[in-house]
Amino acid sequence: MATTAYKRKPSKSELRRQTVEELVVYPFDWLEERSGLVGGIKYFLFRKVPADINWMQTLGSAALTAFLVQAITGVILAMYYVPSADIDPHTGQPVAWESIVNITDHLTLGWLVRGMHRWGASIFIILMFLHMGRVFLFGAYKYPRELNWIVGVLILVMGMMEGFTGYLLPWDQTAYWATVVGINLNGTAPFLGPWLAQFLRGGQEISGATLTRFYSLHMLVIPGGIIALITLHLYLVIRLGVTSPPWSEDAAGGEPEEADAERRRSGLTRPVPRPAGAQAMQAEPGGSE
């Protein structure tokens, strides 16, 4: 017996709503069909993370925010900074030093952008160390996240190198002498040390050539490396998932108290193997994992 579903005629406001929805959705569908990007972003946004993640786990994205602040303020500063150690014949001061004073004293809001860039560097490094400490505390460097930890350490090292190269750019006394010592430190490495130091300096002594190559390193080489590594780092986080705090008892990754107690009683060193598969967990109503 055929039954026809009785469809109520849609009202005017419902029709309008439908049309608006279709209009809004249309560009996303267009983009998704041609690139698949919308699906990717949706996956990133709506993927599941453990229900009991901690505030400490925001340090990673906070470090990323600090890096973005550095990148943006750095690009703006680059529009006004001049990486030249030559002396300006009118004032007798080095041109690079003068451009920094110009940014800070004379350009509108230049003091704010320069200040943000300078202190953003310190905040970026602090956040990276705190994030590293959090990951260590959570044991989130263990299987399968070993590669992610190594990538993270490399980002930390590159971040500190970025700070070191950027420190020279104002070309004041602090900048010059900190760089002298830093490069000579590299020079004390056996065999290749003196060659590495001379390459960094662009000569036997620090000169204008040193400033320009440090500028190139600071603006192009190291940020490129950091961006590439951050991309890999984020990809691995999304792929491997976010850990839950190690003291969590019922969410993913936590060792349940009962299995722990049983293990200690039975004298085993490894956790008691649990039945494989998600069904086993679902089948124990109220049982904690």
């Binding site: 080095p94 020079g187 004390t188 065999f191 390459f199 000569g203 036997q204 000169s207």
Partner: protein
Amino acid sequence: MESEQPSPDTEHESAREEAHLPSPTLWPIGFAIGIVVVLVGLIIDPLLISTIGAVIAIVFGFLWARDATAELREERVVVEPERRELPDAGAEDDPHQVTLTPVTDTQVTRSVFLEGATLGLGAAIGGLITIPVAGFAVLPGFLGQELHKVDLGPIERFPLNQWYVATFIVDPTQGEVSKRAAFLRNNGTVADPKTNQQVPSFSIISNRCTHLGCPTQANGPSGLRFTGKPTIKQHTLTGPAEFVPVVPAGYGCPCHGSQFDTEGNRTAGPAPRALDRYAFEINHGRLVLLGTYSVSEVVGTGAQAQIYKYKQAGPGEHINGPEQWLYPLQPPHN
């Protein structure tokens, strides 16, 4: 949406409910080029170039019109279909099909050759791009290290046995960035071992600490107020130079705590050797600094000092003892 492609089968065209489209033709391109040449010729040379353009436009226009009116004259225009049908695989009764001989392992197949060629050419391109670029990045720091002589003025200007903190410009073309400081003293004269004549003796000690290159300071009062001697400022043949009188009990480094005595020997701290010194010559009665050299130790003081000289080494590097083999090859110095 209606298809905009002309049907390859013109005799069915009238049977379809499509817009009437002209038959496909390439001559309009030539016509357009002709028009462009006419217009350009109007700017450059109307007589010659516009005429050429007009000729081209007319010729191609004629060909285009001929093609476009082909079906009016009931001529058939043969057009290749847009989609090619793939030949059937395994058509055995095709006399033109070539039978492929089976390939043995010893033969280099086309795919293997292409693989190798791609990788090889890719490596070659990579090398062509990287090597000059890397060379440009690395080599300028190592080549062209030339010695800059620094004129410090007539030697009579320097009172006997008075230490000065000398600041001078080493390379006038580089300017301020090549400013250096040294602790300088006129020791009087000493007998030249080769000629047995009395030659001027100066102690000129670089102030760069041999630990990591920090600027050492003289441990002692300096300036007119505390030494009773005036500061000497002069403009020499190679640039400005300043000499501040000082009475040092030694030199100390503000970075990591190295201390040196007045001859530059290390007395405390992490410096691996004595302070470097400047070689010098007396040119027409003027003191001229040459390059620096490294010193392991100095025995004695002033004109009678025995200086154990070595080739210039970077800060932190040992020049004698077993650790010197950690730095077997030095980059080019001046």
